[in-house]
């Protein structure tokens, strides 16, 4: 049962997720790249209710960690701190923003599998990556709302089930796509990425194998 969420990254994505999580009733700890004091005023005004911390403290105190840094900075997160933690990877490889990063261009796997290699022991789930940060707050809807959108998840089934409940409380229908490798189906360039889909439409996009298992 998740009650405290630690967010690494106080930029646009991290801030939007923090507000969404606060609205959903979670305790939110948020960290930038430096001391808590560096982001104190930002947190007070932009994500009121969240607590500014160092990255190490935000991870240590969280039931679930959300990686919301630009992908080209993911190695700034200390891998030892994430071992054993449930971690949402919201990051995408975006050449126009990240530049040419050979470890991603030269690897056919999903970006989360590449990231996962750097975080051994972390229980990584890929989600929240295919919705724009503008839309996260604007599109959240209560369960059962016919206009509620779906968000795809990839990771091991047990961990993904824990994350699915968080996605549900955020205001979206979680749609399990399969193991971390299945996350390639909702990365940039896929029909799912940046689109708006109900859970039913997501299942169709993800294909018959996923739809059948659901």
């Amino acid at each position: 049962m998740v009650s405290t969420i630690g967010i690494l990254g106080a930029g646009r994505v991290g801030s939007a997720i923090a507000r969404t999580a606060l609205t959903a009733g979670y305790t939110v700890h948020i960290a930038g790249s430096g001391p808590a004091a560096d982001i104190q005023l930002i947190v007070d005004i932009v994500t009121p209710g969240a607590v500014a911390m160092t990255a190490a403290d935000a991870v240590a105190t969280a039931d679930l960690v959300i990686l919301a840094v630009p992908l080209h900075k993911y190695r700034s997160v200390d891998p030892a701190t994430l071992a054993g933690k449930i971690v949402i990877d919201t990051m995408n490889y975006w050449q126009p923003i990240d530049g040419d990063l050979h470890e991603f261009t030269g690897d056919a796997r999903s970006s989360s599998e590449v990231v996962g290699d750097y975080f051994p022991g972390a229980r990584l789930v890929k989600t929240l990556n295919h919705i724009g940060y503008h839309d996260l707050e604007a599109d959240a809807r209560p369960a059962g709302d016919p206009e509620r959108h779906g968000l795809a998840l990839a990771g091991d089934p047990e961990t993904a089930a824990v994350v699915a409940e968080v996605i549900n409380r955020f205001g979206f229908d979680p749609v399990y796509a399969g193991s971390l490798a299945a996350g390639a189906a909702f990365e940039p360039g896929s029909p799912i990425f940046g689109g708006r889909h109900t859970a039913r439409e997501l299942l169709i996009e993800l294909g018959p194998a996923v739809a059948e298992a659901a």
Binding site: G11, S15, L41, I45, G99, E187, G195
Partner: protein, 347 residues
């Protein structure tokens, strides 16, 4: 409230959709700035982009030409990507334009750029993104704030300058320098801390959601001891004005569609969706596309959230027919601006 326009240049399209010359895009932009000045628009911002569809790569050169051909309008870069340029050169070019303008009409807006095409073009390493921006902004401010022509500076991203003249000096002593941001909270805090006016580029979502950022900006400025007229907010959005809302939507949509197809190809977005366009073109959306009443009301409404003193629109994207840009500029100056003034006075 100042009302303005901005452009990254818009290379016109042939009827079959193929691009015409980038030079024509630049010439159209120059003509639009002159027309804006004649119509009484307050502000025109230029570039910097480096693509075939958006060829305004050199705001300094365009603004210098426009400074000679205009009388009243404020001209600014929007924005200069200083991370990958030399702040000495940026300053010199805009200070030259300031001299040509007669003084007091030229501004610099410093930004990082929303894409990274300038890094390979000018031979910079993306890993230095943050350091380049921080140091070069500091150098630009040092040059501009210098009480004499001689400047001294040292840092890691560029050779040191030891008491060397950087000229011409601005007619009024200094050029206004703005900091451009797309909504990263740390950038708002930085602008406040540095005492620079902040310019928000709001390209999607709901613009009134920038209200906490504007508050963060003002509180950061106050904490650092910066007060007075330099602490102010401007807003740049997409938009187009036409005699009727229906015409505005029909005129703006094809170019918006082209822009999003191109961006989508680069960034892995799906095909642009007309419903999404229509939603963004109504309150509380981010596209100020409408008739003069509609656009004026939405600008005045946003003012209630952000307290901005300037709102400027980018209309010419994806091959907008030039006459539609010119009519929008005319309507902005003659119809939208007085309506906004009336709405704000009535508050």
């Amino acid at each position: 409230m100042e009302i303005g326009a901005y452009s990254f240049g818009d290379t016109p399209l042939n009827p079959d959709g193929s691009p015409r010359s980038t030079a024509e895009g630049i010439r159209n932009l120059f003509d639009a700035i002159v027309a804006a000045d004649r119509a009484g628009l307050d502000y025109f911002g230029v570039g910097e982009h480096h693509t075939v569809s958006m060829p305004a790569s050199s705001p300094g050169a365009l603004i210098a030409a426009a400074a000679a051909a205009t009388d009243r309008i404020i001209l600014g870069s929007a924005a200069s990507i200083i991370s990958t340029d030399d702040p000495v050169r940026v300053f010199q070019q805009l200070a030259t334009a300031d001299a040509i303008s007669g003084g007091g009409r030229v501004e610099i807006t410093a930004g990082r750029g929303s894409s990274v095409e300038t890094f390979p073009l000018f031979g910079y390493d993306l890993r230095d993104y943050d350091t380049l921006y921080a140091e070069k902004l500091e150098l630009l401010m040092r040059i501009n704030g210098s009480p004499t022509a001689e400047v001294t500076w040292s840092g890691s991203v560029r050779p040191a300058i030891d008491n060397l003249a950087v000229v011409p000096r601005p007619v009024n002593g200094r050029l206004p320098i703005w900091l451009a941001t797309g909504g990263n909270a740390a950038s708002s805090a930085r602008a406040g801390r540095l005492g620079l006016p902040v310019s928000y580029g709001i390209i999607g979502g709901e613009p009134h959601r920038f209200a906490p950022l504007a508050e963060l900006y003002r509180r950061s400025a106050a904490q650092a001891g910066h007060t007075g007229e330099n602490i102010k907010v401007s807003v740049a959005t997409l938009g187009l004005v036409a005699p009727t809302k229906k015409e505005a939507l029909e005129r703006f949509h094809p170019g918006w569609h082209n822009l999003n197809v191109e961006m989508g190809r680069l960034r892995g977005w799906p095909a642009p969706d007309r419903r999404q366009f229509e939603a963004q073109a109504q309150a509380p959306g981010a596209y100020y596309v409408g008739d003069p009443d509609d656009v004026a009301e939405r600008i005045a409404h946003l003012h209630g959230h952000l307290g901005h003193m300037r709102h400027f629109l980018q209309s010419d994207v994806g091959g907008l027919p030039h006459e539609h840009l010119l009519e929008s500029i005319e309507l902005l100056a003659t119809e939208v601006k007085p309506r906004v003034a009336r709405l704000l006075a009535a508050k």
